[in-house]
């Protein structure tokens, strides 16, 4: 999984039958810089079934983990290589070398 911030949304009506029933969000991957999380410059299109909105920090699951996000009986066949699995409420990082945990809350 990776941490990312939702920066937008993708709307599509014509799509593969095994992509039905999910929103697609644009998520910018984040990396740690000191005590902050900053974008790496990578953006992924991730499916969302938990209601993430623009600005939220989320975790994105990859590969077969993404399909597990949609593992309910009626949605087993969703084909996706990335899916939002959590909306992050807060996180804490250990500032390098300082041994100080800094907590953030969204």
């Amino acid at each position: 999984m990776i941490l990312g911030r939702v920066i937008g949304e993708v709307w599509a009506t014509q799509k593969h039958e095994r992509l039905e029933g999910a929103k697609a969000m644009l998520v910018a991957r984040l990396r740690r810089d000191g005590i902050r999380l900053v974008p790496t410059g990578e953006v992924v299109v991730a499916l969302d079934n938990i209601g993430a909105q623009t600005g939220h920090i989320v975790t994105v699951s990859w590969g077969s983990g993404a399909r597990a996000v949609f593992s309910s009986p009626d949605n087993r066949d969703v084909l996706a290589d990335a899916a939002i699995s959590r909306i992050v409420d807060g996180y804490s990082v250990d500032e390098a070398g300082a041994g100080i945990d800094v907590e953030h809350t969204e």
């Binding site: 920066i7 937008g8 910018a28 953006v43 084909l79």
Partner: protein, 125 residues
């Protein structure tokens, strides 16, 4: 998955039997994640019927392989959706946070800038 623009098609008569009857599209990504090497385009199986110039969502890896109904097909990328509208929050790309989105002026045809908190109004418009 990644967002890209369909910029061409590929015809092939002699091909792997598992690729039979599959249309191939050339897609130039607007942005990428975790690239194994830097490329300008990818060739993706298209079962959705995208046209030249349209924005598409491309699924990579094993899930992309399954669109052919089998994991035996030599496929790494598949067009999964034709995009009607791409919304990106303007404040998300300020301060060079996401500079690649408008790299070389190559940005999604369907791009609409939104503002956090005013998305409801933008969507009605």
């Amino acid at each position: 998955m990644i967002l890209g623009r369909m910029i061409g098609t590929v015809w092939a008569t002699r091909k792997n039997p598992n690729l039979a009857r599959l249309k191939l599209a050339i897609v130039r990504p607007y942005f990428w994640y975790n690239p194994s090497h830097d490329v300008e385009h990818i060739v993706a199986v298209d079962q959705v019927g995208a046209d030249l110039g349209q924005d598409v969502v491309v699924c990579l890896g094993q899930p992309g392989r399954w669109v052919a109904g089998t994991s035996a097909a030599p496929i790494e990328a598949s067009v999964m959706a034709i995009v009607d509208r791409t919304e990106i929050a303007e404040e998300s790309v300020q301060d060079e946070q996401v500079p690649f989105v408008i790299r070389d002026g190559f940005k999604p045809e369907t791009l609409v800038w939104t503002h956090r908190g005013s998305q409801a109004e933008d969507r009605k418009a």
